[in-house]
């Protein structure tokens, strides 16, 4: 497993630049803040996301998932804003943000349980079409959608499971399907929330390979618990602690940061 990760690291490592130049920034936040009652979950966060794999780490309750929810419109910030390709997207509903090209997966597997694997992806591919509102034609008539669905399925390694009902998939494959659904929306940025949590070693390898493959085409933002994975796969790491950015930089720099070590040890 270690070798696999190392290899990936080599692959993606090539594209890394330390400071992302202004033109490369796809998504950025400015002074993003969110309170839940007395708790400040996210506090004045400034993020700049560029190409490659950008990981967000931090102990439980650091505000990682809240950050994702703010980026994708599931939550509205109390102050500050999110910009995507120069457009302010905070305040937009989640579907509008998705339509602009930001895809996400969820920490707890989020698929369409009673539908077939094929249908899970098909409906996501279809989401880009106005035809989704058409209730007078057969869904089978959208041939392009079917073709693209098959393509996505093979990309995430589910081509042999197309007719299986999603809830009957083995857990590791459900996580792949979750990622597949995100990819099917033709995104230009992918946010993955702990894609390997609760997954067996073997499946973890598969998923990491998948992420690496994706990151070659698209920028990926990753929330991940496993420090080893993070260090091996990321081009950039942001450390959140109690809603504040504690440290930011390439893996080596973050690894050596004393505050990070302290926070992490304290957090666990």
């Amino acid at each position: 497993m270690a070798t696999a990760i190392d290899q990936k690291h080599c692959h993606s490592g090539v594209t890394v630049t330390h400071a992302i130049s202004h033109d490369d920034v796809i998504l950025s936040t400015e002074n993003l803040t969110k309170h839940f009652g007395a708790l400040t979950a996210i506090n004045g966060v400034n993020l700049r996301i560029g190409p490659g794999v950008h990981s967000i780490i931090g102990p439980n309750g650091a505000g990682k998932t809240t950050l994702f929810n703010l980026l994708t419109g599931f939550l509205a910030p109390d102050s500050g804003h999110v910009s995507y390709r120069g457009e302010r997207i905070s305040g937009l509903p989640p579907y509008a943000i998705s339509q602009r090209g930001v895809a996400r997966s969820f920490q707890i597997t989020s698929i369409f349980a009673e539908l077939s694997v094929f249908e899970n992806v098909r409906v996501a591919v279809q989401s880009r079409l106005k035809a989704s509102y058409n209730f007078l034609i057969s869904h089978r008539s959208l041939k392009d959608v079917e073709r693209k669905t098959a393509e996505i399925l093979s990309r995430v390694g589910l081509e042999n499971w197309a007719d299986t009902t999603a809830k009957n998939l083995p857990y590791g494959l459900q996580r792949c399907l979750d990622i597949g659904i995100s990819l099917a929306t033709d995104p230009s940025l992918v946010l993955l929330d702990e894609p390997t949590s609760g997954v067996s070693r073997e499946d973890t390898t598969n998923i990491l390979q998948l992420i690496a493959a994706i990151s070659r085409r698209l920028p990926v933002v990753l929330i991940e618990h496993n420090i080893d994975i993070v260090l091996s796969i990321s081009d950039m790491i942001t450390v959140l602690y109690q809603g504040v950015v504690l440290a930011e930089g390439p893996p080596a720099q973050v690894r050596d940061d004393e505050r990070v070590q302290e926070a992490y040890l304290g957090g666990y």
């Binding site: 509903p93 579907y95 989020s110 369409f112 009673e114 279809q126 989401s127 880009r128 035809a131 869904h139």
Partner: protein, 309 residues
């Protein structure tokens, strides 16, 4: 793969259903009951679009059924004796009502959605109850005519049955189409996982609203036909118990299958009619059937059929 065999078996199923529908009034206890069964089958199918496919437990569908009936009835009684125009009026009224109720309630989720739909339906009931000049109040809207339709005399029950059959068959076919359209597939996705559907770019509330309106449209058609069948509109068409009835039919038959709610409507209406001829305790019998249905064959009649297979 199984595409061919499944489409052939589907064709056989549809053919068998249609053949049965044509013969039905001759084997049903009486002809008018056969029409009633069809009308409630349509009501249940259109309700299933909302409950079974979009996953919204509406408890206010009596409003659309009842307003369809009143719209049709009032037009026929007070304005002009034409069946198509009457039905169109009923459809317009119920669709508008569905738009209004849907718009107000669609953002609520779960049980709160259910209760808002109930609240609006109760208000329509109250308005119909009070506006006696227009609706006849609790005496019902009496004396709805069944004017000649071109060469077709709708007076005899058997003629009305075939008229109803044609409209119901076309409607059910349309609803089947809706369910298997890109739109219908989206509905099922958002029923399964609301947040996921939103995160892949679907304006979930909009889909729910459209589904609600389509459902209200066909419920209104069922209501309009009911007015023709009865020659009058009972106020009870708007009562919450009518909503309860269609929910029960859907669940008993098997939600999210379309065929299930049809079977549910057929079974419940026929059973009730027949049982009530033999015993005053038909409520006890129906209650026992519902309980046994849930305990015994889960997933409704359709679940039972699948399980047998």
């Amino acid at each position: 793969m199984t595409e061919n065999t499944s489409s052939r078996s589907r064709a056989i199923l549809i053919g068998a259903l249609l053949a049965m529908a044509v013969l039905f009034p001759h084997i049903a206890p009486y002809q008018a009951l056969a029409s009633e069964v069809l009308i409630f089958a349509l009501f249940a199918v259109s309700y299933d679009l909302v409950l079974g496919y979009a996953g919204m437990l509406s408890f206010g569908h009596a409003a659309f059924f009842g307003l369809g009936a009143y719209g049709t009835g009032i037009f026929l009684v007070k304005m002009y004796p034409s069946v198509p125009l009457g039905l169109l009026t009923g459809l317009a009224v119920s669709t508008l009502a569905a738009l209004f109720v849907g718009y107000a309630s669609i953002r609520r989720r779960g049980i709160y959605f259910t209760m808002v739909t109930l609240a609006f339906a109760q208000m329509f009931y109250f308005i119909a109850f009070k506006w006696t000049g227009l609706t006849g109040g609790d005496d019902g809207l009496q004396g709805v005519p069944r004017p000649q339709l071109g060469p077709l005399d709708l007076g005899p029950e058997i003629n009305l049955y075939y008229f109803v059959l044609v409209l119901v068959a076309v409607s059910v076919a349309l609803i089947f189409r809706v369910v298997n359209s890109p739109f219908g597939k989206t509905l099922q996705a958002l029923r399964e996982n609301h947040n996921r559907a939103m995160s892949i770019g679907y304006d979930v509330d909009r889909f729910r609203l459209i589904a609600f309106i389509i459902s209200g449209f066909f419920s209104g058609l069922a209501g309009g036909l009911y007015a023709l069948l009865l020659h009058f509109v009972p106020l009870s068409a708007l009562h919450w118990s009518t909503s309860g009835e269609v929910v029960v039919m859907s669940i008993t038959g098997g939600m999210g299958t379309l065929v299930g709610p049809i079977l549910g409507a057929v079974a419940i209406i026929l059973l009730r009619d027949v049982i009530s001829n033999y015993t005053e305790s038909w409520n006890l019998v129906m209650g026992a059937i519902f309980m046994a249905a849930v305990l015994g064959f889960r997933g409704g009649i359709m679940g039972l059929l699948k399980w047998r297979r």
